[in-house]
Symmetry: C2
Subunit: 384 residues, 2 copies
């Protein structure tokens, strides 16, 4: 009896890896190459080497900025002047003798088709993460996120001080230095101050009153007294590329009883979630802990009389690093245990269209036994 | 004799169109939908309707911001709670009865594979542009770019004023308000001022001396007198999403003879290119006009003694709109005639590693008979 030779299919994880993107599109590219560029370039990783392939305009800068161990190649050598539209990836693959690449889920379809037409196989990464190691931050990465979070707290303190320094006018709106304070002014002024510190922030949320009932509403117009203002601030370092992210909700003046109760419930949910978080707990368990506290405090999640979702209808948190929203997620959809070195937001919230929203957000590093919190500012509601 | 029915393959342009991206990744998505969101959402266009499919968190905002005629759908209806990882695009296609999509070149490979596995065909757009009409700006778009360019000039004037107000210290560096003026300070300060005007600028170039010899070098460290400073400023409006883009090169103090000659040559190249630009001229012809002026002025393009490229080694210009670099290109690689309504940069430059760079950039609208320039600031070299 002859034994049939079984062809074992190789593990895709062992294929050479290829990314074609700009670092604005792909945090994986920035992570792997260390070089930040707004125009598309190419990264590959074989058993022999890690390499970025850049335009002649970028070569000198790339050579200075690339991660240690990453070789920088000028792409002209892969361009045939007679066929300028031809794929650099195809010529590179032929030059390297690579006949099968592993690529990220967001790899451009047109590049995959050019490679496949040239007889080079392309396997799309099916896992959540192209570089799963990105989810567990090194000490240097935690340091970079801590710096970004410190800058975030500096601007949050400035916002808090603006509230303290503001007066309430006869119509019930805040006035700062004699002018009605608006969300738009806060956003432009404080995002400007981030730039002065070497950070870029956009779409910063200052959502007053009922606007805060939509978690992604940026807020606009004058800021009223005695109503909650959701301030969600998330800058990215122009130097390191790592993000900060935090939220506080303040009321200038006196909060209504329901807002006070909601604030206490959200604070309690944050504390309960932080208490149970450690390596081994799943994202879903962490979420459920916070959700249960809110339900038990009398704030169920569901659909309001207006047909809109109300209560706590987003995930408890998300990974933060070179992307503002990355893995792992603290959400009912994540059954996987957290690992030490994960950096995640913890941001329970409550939203009701008749009065607005409360959200409180800190960043924490997951450790074997618990968490390390990257925030120092207390969670308080009323600003006198 | 029976006539064999010939199956004619339909024109891909007539297929329904599908985009899956964030608006940070895809200007096409922002153009088609009018709704700006940092998280991925879906746009489709069939013979019957144009539609965006967004998360429940974004629904209210999307309904308020989407372009007229674009329907907004909440995506939950396409999510099976039992199979949360399943493709929304597949369920949507089945619901719409679409069995063949046309998608952009940068469509995520993983989404294409999910659609194809479900029996839905996906054709990748082979043309340069998914929405070719994006290259010809409407009056409203020209107005938005004009606004962004006016903001850019405001900041350029501020930079020029800082140079005027700076003193030259004993070591030959600029001092502003008693402190040594650096590229880094200029970038943080002026990008901060953009934020205050409702614009976001990053990677703004203030490249002094030899740093200016690399066109993408951002510049760093103290600014010396008597050497060229390349200032390339390109903010994006936080409101409209349209970019501005301009470059001036100044010398605080006295320019060397070669820098003066290079400046005059670049200025002449800019004027010559603007003079021949109109609908019908190709991108390559416009580029060649500028390149010829520079060569004739004694500044040939080639390879320097240090092996680095020198002279005029980038394209003359690029389209500007919802992307900072978009079609059409003014480059040897673009044999296509320009069309009225194109908005392009005109930015000849000269780069030599022994003294640095000169680049002068305006934005122009292509018209039937010539151009409309969106800049008003003169091109001057020495700042006393």
């Amino acid at each position: 009896m002859t034994q049939k030779k079984q062809k074992s299919s190789p593990d895709p994880k062992t294929f050479p890896k290829l990314i074609i993107a700009s670092t604005e599109e792909s945090a994986d590219l920035l992570y792997a190459g260390g070089f930040n560029a707004p125009d598309e370039f190419l990264y590959y990783e074989t058993a022999e080497e890690k390499c970025i392939v850049v335009s002649p305009l970028e070569y000198a800068r790339a050579a200075g900025e690339a991660n240690p161990g990453v070789r920088v190649i000028e792409r002209s050598q892969f361009i045939d002047k007679e066929k300028p539209g031809e794929s650099i990836a195809v010529r590179l693959s032929l030059a390297l003798g690579v006949d099968h690449w592993l690529v990220p889920g967001r790899f451009p379809l047109i590049e995959a088709e050019k490679l496949r037409s040239a007889g080079i196989e392309v396997t799309c990464c099916q896992a959540d993460s192209f570089f799963p190691e990105r989810e567990r931050k090194t000490a240097a990465e935690v340091k970079a996120i801590r710096q970004s979070q410190a800058a975030t707290e500096e601007i949050m303190r400035e916002f808090r001080q603006i509230l303290i320094d503001s007066k309430i006018n006869a119509r019930g709106y805040l006035e700062f230095h004699g002018k009605v304070l608006t969300s738009d002014f806060l956003r432009m002024e404080l995002e400007g101050n981030f730039k002065r510190m070497g950070y870029t922030a956009s779409r910063t949320i200052f959502a007053p009153g009922r606007q805060g009932a939509e978690p992604h509403n940026l807020g606009s117009g004058p800021i009223p007294a005695d109503e909650p203002i959701v301030a969600d601030i998330f800058p990215r370092s122009d130097t390191t590329g790592y993000w900060g992210d935090m939220t506080r909700t303040y009321v200038k003046g006196k909060a209504s009883p329901v807002v006070k109760r909601a604030f206490k419930a959200v604070l309690k949910a944050s504390e309960a979630a932080k208490k149970i978080l450690h390596a081994g707990v799943t994202g879903a368990e962490a979420h459920q802990t916070a959700a249960d506290v809110l339900t038990q405090a009398g704030f169920p999640t569901g659909c309001g009389r207006d047909g809109k979702p109300c209560g706590f209808f987003h995930g408890l948190g998300h990974g933060v690093g070179l992307e503002i929203h990355e893995n792992p997620r603290l959400s009912p959809l994540n059954p996987h245990p957290l690992k030490s070195g994960n950096v995640v937001s913890v941001e329970p919230g409550l939203y009701y269209s008749n009065w607005g929203g409360i959200r409180l957000e800190d960043l924490v590093v997951i450790t074997a036994k618990g968490i390390q919190c990257l925030n120092t500012m207390e969670m308080e509601l009323e600003i006198p």
